[in-house]
Subunit: 427 residues, 2 copies
């Protein structure tokens, strides 16, 4: 609208860890930044399973994107969804608004759960990606207990109290520990007819061990912790079918009212938007500077990108990796726009990995040190509270955890949403 | 199941303020109590508008019923919905479970919004009764701002930023104040293109003044406070139509993307369940001991009951009134079961009324004292935090309020739920 020379326009799609960090790294860049996300909030996804198991409230792990970036003057935020890219005209097509032009484009669109081609499975085995997924799973789990409380038929009651988690990566393991805690401690005192301790929590893994990305010693420690918490772990067990009655695994039917998908993810379809052949898991194989080969003005970061380390292994789909990539691209673009030389190729600094198993147990693989049990859990708590965005959230999350730890209580045990008693099929 | 003489069975329908208090008053009664609610949580309804305006999270004003009554040994809780009563056989019919027998029955089923026979209005003007209503209204309000931010058409933008509240009782007034605060302070810094201060908040009241149940002096004070907060108040204005474009009031069309119903309520259909002619507002006119005339074993309390004070005025539909009635009936039944004489007829002890208008303003009518402005707000805050059930909630709510008060921030500004951009009709 003004007659001043137009500043270059940087378009960022996705306000997860990668996109948000890129936006923040560009705070001082001489550019107009437009950040588009289909949600109005940034989600601290590593703690989403705590919403699904009623330990935390949604607002404790999600902050409005506008609130996070309030102080940054060169940015505009838009709630919309990208549906395609015209690389010739340099336009991103949106679901609601008109096509939006860019000079530089950062695609940080993340991943979705992959059901390996089984299109009917998501209905019976929801994954855990958004706040809505989490509150839906929370309602489903709590409703199963409420229904079991009045169920006269023993087989039906056992089915209601059986929970199958598919996939023993960090999400599956953390979810299993949290569910075991919810059932055996928080709910144990609250029911009269059912015995919540009779809950069956079954973690099914196709591979030979849980937490496959961790060293074997920590996998074993995590397995011991889970078994102490009465979680059944079935290794080398492939899921063959999922339906309203439960699952079929290694040819055997397991009756379960609740099945939660914690297995494969696949990247969002950025490769097809760009007319490029997708790499492993649907991700787009990027150049060493995270740009799209042949399109130096387009970058792909986070779960949507396929990047390997110096040993040729794919980088893990974790928050620190996405944040490092966002920071790298932000820095690269700022240098490019101010005439400075390009930085050296992106290099991932491995900060280790953490997984927690219920109350006061965890495993930590820090490359220079391995921890398990309570010390690992303490580290996990400190790291997660530290990285939760926003001071207010930190205080509330700390209080909630401390209170839950003291009392075994669960504060967010609300069954919300429209579906009523749907697992019995009576409505 | 045991061969001991059967203890009398008291069935309570509804775990709102009335039903929950009745259950708690019966803690030491020699009876088996069954408490049925269609939700798994007790809701602190007076603060529901704070969830709808993103100040509080659902878990801060709702507690699992099982957690509240955990220590009470003579009670069983059931998540189900009553759909009818067979007074001859002394059975309550349920939506899911089999009919349930009772010896004594307490109906505390509350009220629902009444649209005065306009069956199409609820679609366009949701009321505020449950957590799901509140999160839906929250998403609708926040989404209107997000859409306005990118809306190029001025008329459409004005419509998106116009909010009509129908009915200026306590809910309408408190909602108007909270919306004005959200728009003018919390969101003001977060948008680039729209000016949230241009938000139009219109409170429409059919009667000649707001807060009609309060003394005139306090109505005037509340009206001044609202106008200082740039809320438009239209008195003597009847709503003639509500549709997707907005409302027609006094023959004039008002374009508004969001219309919220805060007007009439009607009682749940207990009268028709019992085959009795309903009283005013669908409520059931009870005997002086709150029992149903002709059925001394059935009691109706709270919003479902029609009760007048010594001057013939209907008791207000507020929490203290429902709690006093719950307490009275619990006490009466305990005396009846232990062979003690019946208590004197129920008498309402008026503890006054309170309404808050945004940040640091309120009105308080305490019969022996009237307060307005900041002192009234201070009283309101203390009373509401004190009555919120559960220590943990008190701490979190206090921290949230204190933080919001210091920073003008809003912590729970999340757009959740499945509906996307529905107010534009594009999806």
């Amino acid at each position: 609208m003004s007659s001043a020379p137009r500043r270059p326009r940087i378009l960022i799609i996705g306000a997860g860890f990668g996109g948000l960090t890129a936006a923040q790294s560009l705070a001082k860049a001489p550019a107009d930044i437009l950040l588009i996300d289909r949600r109005n909030y940034h989600l601290f996804q590593p703690l989403l399973y705590q919403v699904a198991t009623a330990a935390l409230s949604p607002a404790e792990i999600a902050v409005p994107i506008r609130a996070v970036l309030r102080g940054q003057e060169n940015i505009t935020i838009l709630m919309d969804e990208a549906v395609g890219i015209d690389t010739k005209a340099r336009l991103v097509r949106l679901r609601r608004g008109s096509p939006t032009p860019y000079d530089h484009l950062i695609l940080a669109t993340g991943s979705a759960y992959s059901y390996f081609g089984h299109e009917d499975w998501p209905r019976f085995a929801p994954g855990l990606k958004s706040i809505d997924d989490a509150t839906r799973i929370r309602a489903q789990v709590l409703r199963a207990f409420e229904e079991a409380e009045t169920c006269e038929d023993e087989a039906a009651r056992r089915r209601l109290m059986s929970f199958v988690l598919v996939g023993a990566g960090p999400t599956g393991v953390e979810m299993a520990g949290a569910l075991a805690e919810l059932a055996h401690a928080a709910l144990a005192r609250d029911f009269r007819h059912i015995v919540p301790k009779e809950t069956r929590i079954l973690l099914v893994e196709a591979g030979p061990r849980i937490l496959a990305s961790f060293p074997d010693r920590l996998s074993q420690a995590a397995l011991r912790s889970l078994r102490q918490m009465r979680v059944e772990v079935a290794l080398d067990t492939a899921i063959e079918a999922i339906d309203e009655k439960g699952v079929i695994a290694n040819g055997k039917r397991i009756a379960a009212a609740t099945v939660i998908w914690c297995a494969g993810v696949s990247a969002t379809p950025v490769a097809s938007w760009l007319g490029v052949a997708p790499g492993p898991g649907g991700a787009l194989k990027v150049a060493p500077d995270l740009s799209v080969p042949g399109c130096p003005e387009i970058f792909v970061i986070g779960d949507a990108a396929f990047i390997t380390d110096e040993k040729g292994r794919r980088l893990p789909g974790v928050a620190p990796s996405a944040k490092q990539q966002g920071h790298y691209v932000g820095d690269l673009l700022r240098r490019r726009l101010t005439g400075k030389p390009a930085p050296p190729p992106f290099r991932y600094r491995d900060q280790g990995q953490l997984a927690t198993i219920g109350r006061a147990r965890a495993v930590a693989d820090l490359s220079w040190m391995q921890l398990w049990g309570f010390p690992a859990w303490l580290l996990w708590g400190i790291v997660h509270i530290y990285f939760l965005i926003g001071f207010r959230n930190r205080v509330v999350v700390f209080l909630n955890w401390f209170w839950a730890w003291l009392t075994y209580g669960r504060g967010a045990r609300l069954i919300t949403g429209e579906r009523k008693f749907d697992s019995t099929g009576s409505e």
